[in-house]
């Protein structure tokens, strides 16, 4: 399709007219300085202003003409970021172009030059533009838009807790207009990992009575930026592999030696301390790996029909040992008649390990740590309570931040500042919430909720098929959860 050259020619002509006009005005003004009568000056001012307006118009026209032929990725990115919190203007050029293109889909006469130009312009843009109607069907997508199925479907892999459908469900009927950004989105289907692209996406919803264009999606290809992070992720995985090797050897040989040697009570206690220290290292490595995966949207939870008791059992022995070697009392009270939860056993067990480990770190010798659980509506609430040093009120809002460690904890206890960050991320990825109550000097209670299996299964049954993969229905006897067998 040929690009209509008219706007560029017009822009060039306008800039030329502007320059000539400014030259004439400057000449007249110079004349007035040298004694021409002063009554001409208001007219000269008006002429100057007119010139400035013409300059703006000319520059705008020139920019539009450049858009069609040259990448303006940086300009467009900057504009989109700057205006991301504003609802889109129904009369804006892009929306108007999309509207015209949609209208031309079933043309009675041939495609007009103007529409051909608009089509070409949008297809040359390095950003994707997609229009959804009120039934959430794609009514228009330009060439750069990540679609599949002949442009009928979005080829974007949203997370279950932050999907376009979920956002629209919350917005439609409740808001007149709204916008939302997603960062680091991946495609659903690709031919090979090398061809993987990453997108940032902006959704603009407007309840405007135009059923053909209710939501505009703007996607920006950020593959270059994010693929560097992917290399970092590979490095993290390799580094973790190297770190885990020696831990495997230390833990394994301790186990072998313990069985082969006749140890005194003291020596047994020393062996246990070595065990606990190796386990702590494992926890840190797992936290680093999980944070890396979570931040890059690689962490996928496989929610299954679980009981809290089963999840706890996978780490119970390990936590008993940790508490015992640090001279803490660990009291676990998980009622047998709790409803089943929808949980990823491995990830949730790490949540419990992080919270109990924190309770051990921030309490004193002989302190009591209580793990308890109760049902609340569609959730099971789990609490980990200690009688330790507590957290000052001013610091509470920050404790779930990445790398956050209070001044005092930096001095007195070891840690990476990742434990609570990933704990919150995992709980929220389950669809639950986490909260903390603390009385400085008297102790802290962390509570988190996890949805019951029944509530999640119902919700998924109503959703589209793609969500069903969240629930792993396989009955095959299969051991995949390494945390099951924490030694």
């Amino acid at each position: 399709m040929a690009i209509n050259k008219y706007p560029r020619q017009q822009a060039t002509k306008q800039i030329a007219v502007f320059l000539i006009l400014q030259f004439i005005i400057a000449a007249i003004m110079m004349g007035s300085w040298y004694g021409l009568s002063s009554y001409l000056e208001p007219w000269l001012l008006a002429l100057s202003l007119l010139g400035v307006f013409m300059l703006f118009e000319a520059v705008a026209a020139y920019l539009v003409s450049v858009v069609a032929t040259k990448p303006i990725r940086d300009v467009v990115n900057a504009l989109l970021y700057a205006y991301s919190d504003k609802p889109f203007d129904k009369k804006s050029t892009v929306v108007e172009l999309v509207r015209r293109l949609h209208a031309e889909k079933e043309p009675e006469e041939g495609i007009t030059t103007e529409t051909a130009y608009a089509q070409s312009l949008l297809d040359h843009l390095p950003i994707g533009i997609i229009a959804l109607n009120s039934k959430r069907e794609i009514t228009y997508a330009n060439k750069a838009a990540p679609t599949r199925g002949g442009g009928k479907e979005l080829n974007i892999n949203f997370t279950d807790n932050d999907s376009l459908t979920g956002w629209l469900d919350g917005v439609v009927g409740n808001n007149i207009s709204s916008s939302h950004w997603w960062k680091r989105l991946r495609q659903v289907n690709i031919e090979s990992e090398d061809k993987r692209q990453f997108f940032d996406m902006l959704a603009l919803y407007q309840q405007n009575g135009d059923s053909a264009i209710e939501t505009i999606l703007v996607s920006i290809d950020r593959t270059d930026d994010y693929s560097t992070d992917e290399d970092d992720l590979d490095f993290t995985a390799l580094a973790a592999h190297e770190l885990r090797g020696p831990i495997t050897v230390i833990k394994g040989y301790l186990d072998v030696l313990r069985q082969e040697l006749d140890l005194t009570a003291d020596q047994k206690a020393f062996f246990e301390r070595l065990d606990v220290s190796a386990d702590r290292l494992t926890t840190y490595i797992n936290n680093i790996l999980n944070v890396s995966r979570y931040d890059r949207r690689h962490m996928q939870l496989h929610l299954k029909d679980e009981t809290l008791a089963r999840v706890y059992k996978t780490v119970g022995d390990d936590l008993d040992l940790r508490a015992r070697t640090h001279h803490r009392m660990l009291n676990v009270n998980i009622p047998e008649d709790l409803p089943n939860i929808a949980a990823d056993r491995s990830s949730l067990s790490e949540v419990i390990v992080n919270l109990v480990d924190n309770a051990i770190k921030y309490s004193s010798e002989g302190g009591l740590i209580v793990v308890s659980a109760k049902p609340t509506d569609n959730f099971v609430e789990v609490s980990v309570q200690d009688n330790g040093i507590g957290i000052p009120g001013a610091l509470l809002p920050h404790i779930f931040d990445k790398f956050y460690r209070s001044h005092r904890s930096r001095e007195n206890t070891v840690g990476t500042g990742l434990g609570l960050y990933i704990t919150k991320a995992v709980v929220e990825s389950h669809g639950g919430t986490i909260s903390v109550r603390s009385d400085e000097g008297h102790g802290t209670t962390f509570s988190f909720t996890i949805p019951t299996y029944a509530s999640i299964a119902d919700k998924l049954a109503k959703g589209d098929n793609s969500n069903e993969s969240v629930i792993d229905k396989k009955e095959k006897k299969f051991i995949k959860n390494h945390s099951l067998y924490r030694g």
Binding site: R244, G245, K251, K480
Partner: protein, 124 residues
């Protein structure tokens, strides 16, 4: 232990770790063959009828996922064996899920002591 001794093939290139598993398994009454590369592992798995195969992923010559692909790709050449992947490498979800379809267990070595490994083998 059953009257007939059960056979285990351990494909592990780290000598410290391999020796540790072999020692624990021998003491528990298993007959263990230990090889240090993917190619040797593949040849051994094809040549004998093993009850269990412990398979590392990061192996010299041939990676563990290639070994399992050859053993259980188009045709299951080891229908009587139970395969346990034992790795410290954190595969991404897709690669891990693909592997999990073909094996009986997928374990992180750093989380498993020899004692726990024996418990898992008995459970399978």
């Amino acid at each position: 232990m059953d009257a007939k001794q059960q056979r285990v093939l351990c494909i592990e290139d780290d000598r410290f770790i391999g020796e540790m598993y072999v020692r624990a398994l021998n003491q528990a009454g298993y007959l263990v063959d230990w090889v240090l590369s993917g190619n040797d592992g593949l040849a051994a798995a094809k040549s004998k009828d093993y009850d269990y195969i412990l398979l590392d992923i990061m192996l010299p010559e041939k990676k563990g996922n290639e070994v399992i692909e050859e053993l259980r790709g188009e045709k299951d050449l080891i229908p009587n064996a139970k395969v346990l992947i034992l790795t410290n490498f954190d595969e991404d979800d897709k690669a891990r899920e693909a592997l999990q379809q073909k094996v009986e267990a997928y374990l992180i070595k750093a989380d498993i002591t020899p004692r726990k490994l024996l418990e898992i083998i008995k459970e399978l």
